[in-house]
């Protein structure tokens, strides 16, 4: 699998894919993208990296990633509760041309869950199948 071509391509595509995923995450509120798509793009980039350079040794704590993502998602909604608004009410404000929106934190939670779950499934089934 690990041909020179793949490695060369991966050197460029993997970082670009991860960056592209993060971009999709940030712009998701206004353009196509969002936590799901961003997470899947990032996960695919990482999988490509695994294909090209091999999987890093050691035991990965995927459960931690999944729980972390869920915790971020829940935490992003708790702020509103502290202020007496319904759970998961988000706030938005503009500082000049820059938009600040708390729902981004929620999407980050989605992103983390999707990345962790996808990588967990691919890696586990891969190792099980080989």
């Amino acid at each position: 699998m690990r041909t020179v071509v793949l490695k060369t391509v991966a050197k460029v595509v993997v970082p670009a894919g991860i960056l592209h995923g993060l971009r999709l995450l940030v712009v998701g509120h206004d353009a196509p993208g969002g936590g799901f798509a961003a997470g899947l793009v990032t996960a695919l980039a990482v999988v490509l990296g695994w294909l090209a350079f091999g999987t890093p040794a050691g035991h990965r704590r995927w459960e931690f990633g999944v729980s972390l993502g869920l915790a971020i998602g829940v935490a992003s909604g708790l702020g509103a509760v502290l202020l007496g608004r319904p759970f998961l009410t988000h706030a938005v404000s503009f500082v000049g041309p820059v938009k600040l929106v708390t729902s981004l934190f929620f999407d980050v939670g989605v992103f983390v869950v999707v990345v962790s779950a996808t990588l967990a499934a691919v890696r586990t089934l891969w190792e099980a199948g080989s």
């Binding site: 998961l88 729902s103 499934a121």
Partner: protein, 731 residues
């Protein structure tokens, strides 16, 4: 101050886990819990005498008018005092009685749970509050009856009691809902009797509520659970199954008397059941050889009389029922505690074996004497006062039956006392104060009820009535009472001579109940055998078949059918997808099937793009890629050529597939018939400014329906954990 009231049922309930956590001091926690409640109720009692009923509520389901609402009215406070007061005595008694029981903390925890539930029941002013506490008492009773859970008979008795009372409770719940709807409110204190009784559903309400009351108070023919419950430790029998919980049914009748009572229907249903139970229980009690069984049937009988009194539907009947219940709690509670002491010290409850205990247990004997005095209703006893009022309330037609019951009462009272008289082989070791002191206040109450006129008058006056309670001791009343006692002693002597009386057991429905239970289990096994074949295919055929038929039938009658229109760009993608589907189904090799599935997925991606769903298309494309990776990872492992792909019933499968497909197509088409609505699109566009984004799909996901998305990532996370658990290599 009123809000303190809300805590009354909660204090014992909260003390329960503390009691379970403490080892030695569990009884102290229980004592503290009951005592605190007793003091609170004593403080709350004086205003209710003046007619001021404190009430407090916390909304529960405001939209349905349901709330946690308590009200300290005279009736509720009176019963609350009874529950808390007897509770204190029982805790003290149980400490000595269960001295060597390793699970004592658990016992006190259950007892506290029960006390809390019972207090909530008597103080509830909202039907739903009442129902919740009602079932909580059943549950606590279940745990206490089955306390010796290593014994089959204890477990079975607990199950019987639970099933009977909970089935009755469920009927009662239906009755409560109907009652609340008919009355327009769930608040007991605000119900209008005329409105309820004029309703055409009144008979239903009455029948369903009575089902709850009768099962709880062990009326014929479901009385059998109460004698069965005697396998519980004796403090439980004294507390739940004679002094408090079993009175809940009669309490409910008295509580609802102003709303549901006073009609011909009420009288016609409640009175006969009560009288029949009264006579049946009294007669069967005489025939028992077990001390506790004798008392248990005596309780059934007493509950029958109280039910009959409530069944008169009059205020006099209500007061007679309450007075009778209080008096019964005092003397029957004492008798149970005495029976427990006898069993504790001699190791048996068998009446024929026990004789002459008076010598070793003088105080216990005196207590038994005082309470039997009240039981047989001799003039000067509380029983006499209560029975006299009962006779007044029942009227002339039923006096004969009442007298017959009194003879039977006297007979089983005599049999109980026999244990202390004469000489016997079984000797008691000694008489610890812990087993008689707690019964003392109850016995004193028995005596006071009959000897001190202000006490019963105060009780009745508290309930708001002004009729004369104190009987006139004329010859016309004393003579029948004395005659009943003489007759009773004679009957007891006769019973002792009957050789076959030991066979008189299980008088009632417990065998029928067990048979019904067995039949149900067998039916369930049969049903399981037919429906749960263990083959996925069978389930799928049923599920899909039902879905196809259920959705297809209405389509046949109401559906519209498509007209052929012009072919557009999307048609090409549809064609691509169709080819992919065909390849997926027809391909021989698994790998090519997987690849064909991917082709279908990418065609669908194009369709989504064409149908103006860019977010969906993007996600679908990415997921399709990852799924392909996953499939290819395991496909080599899962190649199992030796498994036959089709079984002989392939035709059924084909039929199911075609049916499901046809119905799905028809359903999908029906969904598009009619003008497309722009309402939702406009709604989201309008409110998008608030959320500050412009990608509407993402706004729906994170802002409008964030909770759904949170649930979704939870599912995804759980699925990932499932994958890890199933397929991860062991370290």
């Amino acid at each position: 101050m009123d809000f303190l009231l809300l805590g009354v049922p909660l204090v014992p309930a909260l003390a329960a886990p503390c009691a379970a956590a403490c080892r030695r001091a569990a009884w102290l926690v229980a004592l503290g819990g009951c005592g605190l409640v007793l003091v609170t109720l004593l403080l709350a009692a004086p205003p209710t005498v003046a007619g001021l009923s404190a009430s407090a509520e916390v909304p529960w389901f405001p939209s349905l008018g349901v709330s946690y609402r308590l009200r300290a009215d005279p009736l509720g406070t009176l019963f609350g005092l009874l529950v808390a007061g007897v509770g204190v005595l029982i805790v003290l008694y149980a400490r000595s009685y269960l001295e060597h029981e390793p699970r004592q903390p658990a016992f006190f925890a259950y007892l506290l749970l029960f006390t809390g539930a019972m207090l909530g029941l008597v103080l509830a002013d909202d039907l739903s509050t009442l129902y919740v506490f009602w079932e909580a008492t059943s549950l606590a009773s279940f745990f206490l009856i089955g306390f010796h859970d290593d014994r089959w008979d204890a477990r079975q008795a607990a199950v019987r009691a639970l099933v009977v009372t909970v089935v009755g409770g469920l009927a009662m719940l239906a009755g409560f809902v109907l009652l609340g709807l008919e009355a327009g409110t769930f608040r007991l204190s605000e119900m209008d009797p005329h409105r309820v009784q004029a309703s055409p559903r009144y008979p239903w309400v009455l029948a369903l509520v009575l089902a709850g009351a009768f099962t709880k108070s062990a009326q014929l023919p479901v009385h059998f659970w109460l004698p069965g419950a005697m396998v519980a430790p004796t403090p439980v029998s004294a507390y739940l199954h004679s002094a408090t919980m079993v009175k809940a049914g009669v309490f409910l009748l008295v509580r609802l008397l102003p709303v549901l009572g006073g009609t011909e229907l009420w009288r016609g249903w409640v009175l006969p059941v009560g009288m029949a139970t009264f006579l049946f229980g009294a007669v069967v009690a005489v025939l028992q050889d077990d001390l506790k069984a004798l008392l248990a049937y005596g309780t059934v009988s007493a509950l029958g009389l109280a039910t009959a009194l409530a069944g008169t539907g009059t205020e006099l009947g209500r007061d007679a029922a309450v007075l009778y219940l209080l008096n019964h709690a005092a003397y029957k509670g004492t008798l149970f505690l005495v029976a427990g002491a006898v069993e504790h010290e001699t190791g048996t409850r068998n009446i024929p074996q026990l004789r002459g205990l008076a010598r070793a247990m003088p105080v216990t004997t005196a207590l038994a004497g005082a309470s039997v005095f009240s039981l047989v209703a001799l003039p000067g006893s509380g029983g006499f006062v209560a029975k006299d009022l009962a006779a007044k309330a029942l009227g002339h037609g039923l006096e004969g039956w009442l007298w017959a019951g009194a003879v039977a009462n006297a007979a089983f009272g005599t049999r109980f006392l026999q244990v202390f008289l004469g000489r016997g082989d079984v000797t008691a070791r000694h008489e610890p104060a812990g087993l008689w002191a707690p019964a003392l206040p109850l016995a004193v109450l028995c005596v006071l009820f009959g000897a001190w006129p202000p006490l019963p008058e105060a009780v009745v006056g508290w309930l708001g009535a002004d009729h004369n309670v104190w009987p006139k001791f004329g010859l016309g009343k004393v003579a029948p009472a004395a005659a009943a006692v003489v007759g009773g002693v004679g009957a007891a002597w006769l019973v002792e001579q009957v050789p076959g009386r030991r066979r008189v057991r299980g008088w009632g429905g417990d065998h029928a109940f067990d048979a019904l239970q067995r039949t149900l289990l067998r039916f369930a096994a049969l049903l399981t055998h037919f429906t749960l074949t263990g083959r996925l295919r069978d389930y799928l055929v049923v599920v899909l078949g039902v879905a196809a038929v259920g959705a297809g039938l209405p389509l046949l009658s109401h559906g519209r059918w498509p007209e052929v229109g012009p072919i557009s760009l999307e048609a090409a993608f549809v064609g691509m997808a169709a080819c992919g589907v065909a390849a997926t189904v027809l391909s021989r090799s698994l790998v090519s099937a997987v690849v064909a599935l991917g082709a279908v997925g990418y065609s669908v991606v194009f369709l989504f793009m064409a149908l103006r769903a860019p977010d969906v298309a993007l996600t679908q494309m990415l997921v399709e890629t990852v799924t392909l990776v996953l499939f290819l990872a395991v496909v080599t492992r899962l190649l199992t050529p030796d498994v036959p792909d089709r079984h002989p019933l392939a035709a059924v499968d084909l039929l199911a597939a075609v049916a499901v497909g046809a119905v799905a197509a028809a359903l999908a088409f029906q969904a598009t018939v009619g003008p497309p609505s722009q309402r939702l699109a406009e709604f989201f566009a309008e409110h998008a400014r608030q959320a500050g984004g412009s990608n509407l799909v993402n706004l729906v996901l994170v802002d409008f329906r964030g909770l759904d998305t949170l649930g979704e990532i939870t599912v995804l996370g759980v699925a990932a954990l499932g994958v890890l658990a199933l397929a991860r290599r062991p370290r």
